[in-house]
Symmetry: C2
Subunit: 390 residues, 2 copies
């Protein structure tokens, strides 16, 4: 049996779901000769870790307890200590993570899985990578920081996986890496990479107003009225809907793909069309003002774009285009009867054009958001690293 120690950073929705998957896959992984051994879990302020990371692991009862506590919104630091574990806080927690990375990285190996949405993890990840650890990311931020940091982080390309940063569990990055490693040059990628914006554009196509789509989902989400809306609510970042509507989430995904293709660019080099103007940004409007006063002002403009497109048999989608030295994200008028134009709801689609996939692009399509799917992608990445473990 091959043992894969895991240290999880971030135990919100995706991280919690990952722990749940790990527990429910015990016998499946055992059949594959794998024992996934969670040795520590961090949230933004604390780390809970087994006393002896070389030999011990958080057992399934402990993992379930941690999931329960995190699902109530509490911090790990509020936990009564579990048997044979310690809780560390703040800078002590960070130091301890690096200690464990050093201890396991060069001996049995360690996967540091970043399921947070924080830009604060980069430094720890870099140190862990330098200490011989494997890195698995659902978090886009460490890969979309400045180019130098990116190149440093991926310098040992076999020890890092980040499938879930683009299209959740969809094998977009795996497919791109396969095409590139066979010497088939990719010259163009076009994709719809945001479950949220996909949903919003679909609703607008059905004649709804932008302000209503966002508000309705917000209201229904709060009341938790139906599963679909619940799922959409999970997708949509209601703490700050502007993160999605600004296009910055899509721009980060586009940056990850463009860097895979060898574009040496930074986030600010991407041409990003925001769905709202700067004067409705966080510096000028509260979220309440944005929802109630800002969005309705945008309804007319957006609605006209959609109608104009429809009059030509087209639809409007929020897409990314990566081609040559160009990387841009924004609204694009597309034939209704094209793979991108036909997209409904929160589905993602990516079209990859290369020498082998010139006339018919390699198309990958499917649910591209949600904690379950994202965590499944992280778990597949961890399993994919198994040959690096003893």
């Amino acid at each position: 049996m091959k043992s894969i120690p895991i240290l999880l950073m971030g135990c919100g929705g995706v991280g919690r779901q990952l722990l749940d998957h790990i527990v429910s896959c015990r016998s499946l992984h055992s059949n594959l000769g794998l024992a996934l051994r969670v040795v520590g879990i961090c949230d933004s302020s604390s780390l809970i870790v087994v006393n002896d990371a070389v030999k011990m692991e958080l057992n399934d009862d402990s993992l379930k307890k941690i999931c329960t506590i995190k699902s109530t919104g509490s911090s790990l630091s509020s936990m009564v200590e579990l048997g044979s574990c310690h809780i560390f806080r703040d800078s002590e927690a960070r130091r301890k993570v690096v200690d464990i990375a050093g201890l396991l990285g060069r001996s049995t190996g360690l996967v540091v899985a970043d399921c947070s949405a924080s830009s604060e993890t980069l430094d720890i990840l870099r140190q862990a990578a330098g200490l011989g650890c494997c890195i698995v990311l659902a978090n886009k931020k460490p890969l979309t920081s400045k180019l130098e940091d990116y190149e440093n982080l991926i310098s040992n390309i076999r020890r890092i996986r980040f499938e879930s940063t683009v299209g959740a569990g969809l094998p977009v990055i795996a497919a791109i890496n396969r095409v590139l490693s066979s010497g088939d040059p990719i010259y163009r990628i076009v994709g719809s990479l945001s479950g949220t914006l996909g949903y919003v554009m679909s609703e607008l196509e059905d004649g709804k107003l932008l302000s209503h789509v966002v508000q309705d989902a917000n209201d229904l989400g709060t009341q938790n009225q139906c599963l679909f809306i619940k799922e959409f609510f999970d997708l949509f970042n209601f703490k700050n809907p502007r993160d999605d509507l600004s296009g910055m989430d899509v721009a980060r995904k586009a940056l990850i793909l463009s860097r895979l293709l060898g574009q040496q660019i930074n986030l600010e080099d991407i041409k990003v069309d925001s769905l709202y103007p700067e004067e409705m940004g966080p510096k000028s409007m509260s979220i309440g003002e944005f929802l109630n006063r800002g969005l309705p002002i945008l309804d007319k403009d957006v609605g006209e774009k959609i109608k104009m497109a429809a009059s030509k048999g087209n639809v409007v989608k929020y897409v990314c285009i990566i081609e040559g030295l160009r990387c841009q994200v924004g609204l694009q008028e597309l034939p209704k009867d094209s793979p991108l134009g036909r997209l409904k709801g929160s589905e993602n689609v990516v079209e990859i054009y290369s020498r082998c996939y010139k006339e018919s692009p390699l198309v990958i399509q499917g649910a591209g958001a949600g904690n379950d799917t994202t965590a499944a992608g992280v778990l597949a990445d961890i399993v994919d690293l198994q040959d690096l473990f003893k």
Copy 2:
């Protein structure tokens, strides 16, 4: 620099293209820290191999010479010996392959890449796997032999890759393995997996007769009139068009996928709808008779199916369906406006349904045939094995 020794079995279209890709990817792979080292090449009767497989390799000039000779249809055995190489024939060639597998399998490692279309390679592959070699297959036959052989061959699942057996270079098997390893159970796969039958059904949809489609392609292919037809000609097995039209090629692909999902079945357990009746089979008709006398008899029946479907807004495609304990391949009436129904030309598409991909299946689509794409898939598989090499 990590060295990956390769022994290639089969140097027809796909094998030759693989050698070509290996040569043209030298600097790309070198940047990834990889040196792909071809130590030997077999065709159906002979093996050309370097004198010292531990240290030497066939250099690029030799590889190019071999490609040139094979492209003329000659056998390897007709070669004037290249410097520092030996040629072995028949049973001696087979013994020598096993010798090399034993020598390298347990020391530096060896990839045995089967790009033949032969059912005769199974025994050597099994021995090589038992000797610690990695196996990469474009050849479907070894995986579609009886269940016991299959289970034996894939018993060390990390040392075998066979992406190019289904959908050529499309990452169908990689995607399925990712979904399965994350504990997300796949309950249904529907696909159009034959470039040839995809093309034929597309042409029938446009109102052509079955006999004309096959004959036209045959005639034009012989005259090599245009690139598209040339490509189709490469796809279609004109030595025996019945192999494709019988559905057996699709059945083999379906068997590979169904076994991946855990179905313990054999080829004869699959319900296969052939496009021609048994009395037009190889035992009763020559290929000439089949083309000139057999096919025209089928035109009416097939044409009526297509018309009937069209009158309901549907199209007819040749698909595989894998679900529960069921695995079948045959003609299926589908809505014109569905991913499968929209398929044109020789494109492949696979829809994967699982817990995560329930409402929106995971769809993989693109060119699913051709030597270039198939060889690219084999090369990506080889690169994917790199962590098992020193």
